[in-house]
């Protein structure tokens, strides 16, 4: 009865103009205000800074007063010797982060959902979340020690089994992607699985009971009930993730980069910081950042269209 009244009330509210709704639910809108301010100030206002990509930035004149240079920086970048290598490296790492790593959080969420011992489940969840809160500096310092030639744990284990214990993993380009992949999974899998666990919790329990009555075993229930139940969440996160294909993240790449692996570890994000902040070529760095942003947007739109066509799941 109470629920029906609340639903009716909501329908009535929806028919009112916005300002009336705001007046009625002002505490909710007040709570929303900080989030709106945050997005405006931190996410939307800086978008106007992209104009730097077309300007010769002057410290004194600021963004708007600096002279226009047209597409000079874009030409410089696309004609530069490093352009192709940087884009390919970034795409490679973006593919690992956005596509290859994508299913692991779903798998962990499905596994955690199957654990019946609540205490064990909570301990496991906590252990998998913890690495997310460690800074990249700490993780990579640990990694450097673990992978150190001869003295690192990994090399010592390899040595114990008669292998070559002098491998300098961080200086070999062929190990770089594997290290990155494993490190990322270890660090993010727990945290990323939270949203899927939330989505799984929202799946109607009656569907499981019905599947059980139809003779479905646990695996069948996962396949026929859980996964379709969280399909929209998976789809949304995938679409948003695809936007990051041309973005490798700066901090992790910067710290993992050594002279030995730089042929594969030099990415657009690292390059933007090197050029922009370290050498003060703000316009040039902004141009490359803008290319990344535009490509990301195109990828998100494309992925959204494809997803919508085949799965009816989309961001808009």
């Amino acid at each position: 009865m109470n629920n029906r009244m609340t639903a009716g009330h909501a329908v009535a509210l929806n028919n009112k103009p916005l300002w009336k709704r705001m007046l009625t639910c002002w505490p909710l809108y007040l709570m929303l205000l900080p989030a709106i301010v945050y997005y405006i100030v931190i996410c939307y206002v800086p978008i106007f800074g992209n104009v730097l990509a077309f300007k010769d930035y002057s410290f004194r004149k600021g963004i708007w007063g600096s002279p226009w240079v047209g597409l000079k920086y874009f030409r410089m970048f696309f004609m530069s010797y490093d352009c192709k290598r940087l884009i390919l490296n970034t795409l490679h790492i973006g593919f690992i982060k956005c596509i290859l790593e994508f299913p692991f959080a779903i798998i962990l969420a499905l596994l955690l959902n199957e654990i019946k011992a609540l205490r064990y489940k909570k301990v496991t969840q906590t252990i998998t979340y913890l690495p997310h809160f460690l800074s990249s500096v700490i993780i990579i310092t640990m990694l450097q020690r673990i992978l150190a030639p001869n003295t690192g744990i990994l090399n010592q284990i390899v040595g114990r089994f008669g292998g070559d214990s002098s491998t300098f993993y961080l200086m070999k380009p062929n190990y770089f992607h594997r290290i990155l992949f494993l490190m990322d999974i270890w660090r993010n899998i727990g945290w990323d699985s939270i949203i899927y666990l939330g989505a799984i919790a929202a799946v109607d329990q009656e569907l499981y009971e019905a599947a059980n009555m139809d003779g479905c075993n646990r695996l069948g229930q996962i396949w026929h009930v859980t996964l379709p139940g969280i399909r929209s969440t998976i789809g949304l996160l995938f679409i948003m993730g695809v936007g990051g294909l041309l973005s490798s993240g700066f901090e992790q790449m910067w710290l993992l980069r050594t002279p030995g692996n730089m042929t594969v570890a030099d990415t657009l994000d690292v390059w933007v910081v090197r050029i922009g902040l370290q050498q003060g070529q703000f316009g040039y760095a902004s141009a490359v950042g803008l290319v990344q942003g535009v490509v990301g947007l195109i990828l998100v739109v494309t992925a959204n269209t494809i997803c919508k066509r085949f799965t009816e799941v989309g961001l808009w």
Partner: protein
């Protein structure tokens, strides 16, 4: 009416008398009653700031003499240059800034130059003649050529904006002063040296170093924990390409350690385009392949390097110097000396006077001449005595006109009690205390001015071994070859596009990458790719510019002709 006039006159007279009296009360050194806010982009300064600078005895005395109070700021970040770039770009600087700047090839310089060109700093040209010390900078022969022509009095600047610090009052760059000499480079464990009969300063050739490394390896020496050691270890301060020069000195195309050199045919070229790049790479590859060099020679972090050296985990440290505690506090390590350079010489080279650090005053600062006067006061004899030695009676006493540290100050210096030096006194103590004051010096001639080359050197036993090692050094010859590094000329306007491309190339990283390559074919490919990138960056235009400049005046670029095979 008369009464009013008389009263008014009386008031005016009384006020004038009071003002005159108050003015008389102020010392000659008085500048203004104000606080100067300074942003420091120097981590050494940032990590040695007092709890409250204006309450230290030194600063209170300075305020009493000048009226100035200080607000020193430091913002930690990824690097000081990055923080500076971000703050300058935001136009967000206080009254003055202080930065690293050994010379115009430092990474900070392009940012500082851009800021100066765009009017972010105050032009102090008109105020310089009124200063006591900084007026020397106007003397054509006072500043090093780089500081004069490329930093402060550049032709493409319409004023004097950036001022380099730590300029010597008199050019003594070719004088070897054991009291003050840094003996850097290779240091060998003294027990291993005694065992193998290796004398200090006995090394001359790469082959000798190789043979020594082989003997260390065959000797199966261990560290303090009983683990086997590597014969050649990284630099004490952390793995780096920079210490490679001590291992492959004669394989460097430039005797000065520059990436550029001059062939006997008169060609200026990059080392990557000569045979020397392969000599360097192949020799190092051999050391690594035979387990004679630590595999993390180039990459080990500072903490681990420190641990490694302290536990004697290497036979030879590839770079450390006599003023590091690990060297002067005991007899565990002895210097091996320098390998000959490409010309077969062990001479040290200098281009003359040098400098490090710089300051600039914001164009928006009120009365910039007051800030200049304050910086000038700090480098007068009175200012230096205060800011470096502290307060007479508390941290030093004058003996025969020279300051001698008190027992308490000497103990603090020897024990490294920086808290006492920074907070209880607030003086620089030659870089052991409040580093800001030590950093802000210039016109230095410490031996003449204070009777000792560094604060406490005359009375302390702390650095006795440092000085003894410097006295032992047989290679005391220092040759002056004036001029700048070729790369300094990348900052001229007509080569701006070449510089933009060259900034993306990192020769050191390329060499390390080639050293760790899996095969000789890969080494060739890496070097050839770098050569192609140099060409694509427009390096030939830099050569043309520098060759013309050098032909006109050989003192503009520091070069020595060397036999080399150049690849087109």
């Amino acid at each position: 009416m008369k009464r009013y006039l008389a009263t008014l006159l009386a008031v005016v007279l009384a006020l004038s008398c009071f003002t005159a009296f108050a003015a008389e009360d102020k010392p000659d050194t008085w500048i203004a009653d104000r606080t100067i806010t300074i942003q420091c982009y120097v981590d050494d300064i940032g990590y040695a700031l007092p709890n409250d600078i204006n309450s230290t005895p030194v600063m209170q005395k300075i305020t009493e003499l000048t009226g100035i109070k200080l607000d020193l700021r430091y913002t930690p970040g990824d690097s000081d240059a990055t923080v500076m770039a971000a703050q300058l770009a935001a136009g967000n600087i206080p009254d003055a800034i202080v930065s690293y700047l050994n010379n115009s090839t430092r990474p900070e310089f392009p940012i500082l130059l851009k800021a100066a060109k765009e009017g972010l700093f105050a032009d102090l040209t008109d105020y310089l003649p009124d200063t006591q010390v900084y007026c020397n900078y106007l003397d054509h022969d006072y500043l090093p050529a780089d500081a004069r022509d490329n930093i402060t009095f550049r032709k493409d600047l319409d004023g004097a904006y950036i001022f380099q610090l730590n300029i010597a009052a008199v050019d003594r760059s070719t004088e070897y002063v054991a009291d003050d000499a840094y003996i850097g480079g290779l240091y060998i464990r003294s027990d291993i040296a005694a065992d193998l009969g290796v004398e200090p300063f006995s090394l001359s050739m790469e082959e000798e170093l190789y043979d020594l490394a082989v003997k260390i390896k065959e000797g199966n020496y261990t560290d303090d924990n009983g683990n086997p050691i590597y014969p050649i270890g990284p630099k004490y301060w952390g793995g780096s390409y920079d210490s490679l020069i001590n291992v492959v000195r004669s394989y460097g195309f430039s005797p000065f350690g520059s990436e550029y050199g001059l062939t006997t045919d008169g060609q200026i070229v990059h080392e990557a385009q000569t045979n020397y790049v392969f000599d360097k790479i192949n020799y190092t590859r051999k050391l690594l392949a035979e387990g004679l060099m630590h595999p993390e020679f180039f990459t080990m972090d500072t903490t681990r390097c420190d641990e490694l050296c302290r536990s004697k985990g290497v036979g030879i440290i590839s770079d450390v110097h006599n003023y590091m505690e690990i060297i002067y506090s005991n007899e565990d390590w002895i210097p091996l000396g320098k390998i000959n350079d490409v010309t077969g010489s062990k001479d040290g080279y200098t281009s003359g006077k040098g400098g490090y650090g710089c300051w600039a005053i914001s164009a928006d600062a009120q009365n910039p001449e007051e800030i200049l006067k304050f910086f000038d006061f700090l480098v007068t004899h009175e200012g230096k005595l205060l800011s470096e030695y502290g307060i007479e009676g508390l941290s030093y006493n004058l003996v025969d006109g020279y300051p001698v540290l008190t027992e308490e100050a000497m103990t603090a210096l020897n024990d490294g009690n920086s808290d006492w030096m920074i907070n209880e006194v607030g003086a620089g103590f030659g870089g052991a205390g409040l580093i800001f004051f030590d950093y802000m010096t210039t016109n230095n001639d410490n031996k003449v001015e204070f009777g000792e080359s560094r604060v406490g050197a005359g009375a302390g036993a702390t650095y006795a071994r440092s000085v003894a090692l410097a006295e032992q050094n047989p290679d005391k010859n220092i040759v002056k070859i004036p001029g700048l590094d070729v790369s300094a000329y990348l900052s001229v306007d007509e080569l701006a596009d070449v510089k933009a491309n060259m900034d993306l190339l990192n020769y050191k990283e390329m060499v390390v990458q080639a050293i760790y390559a899996d095969s000789d074919e890969q080494v060739n490919a890496i070097v050839e790719s770098f050569r192609a990138q140099l060409k694509a960056a427009g390096i030939d235009r830099l050569y043309d510019y520098c060759e013309a400049l050098y032909a006109e005046n050989p003192e503009t670029i520091q070069l020595i002709p060397v036999e080399a095979t150049v690849t087109e």
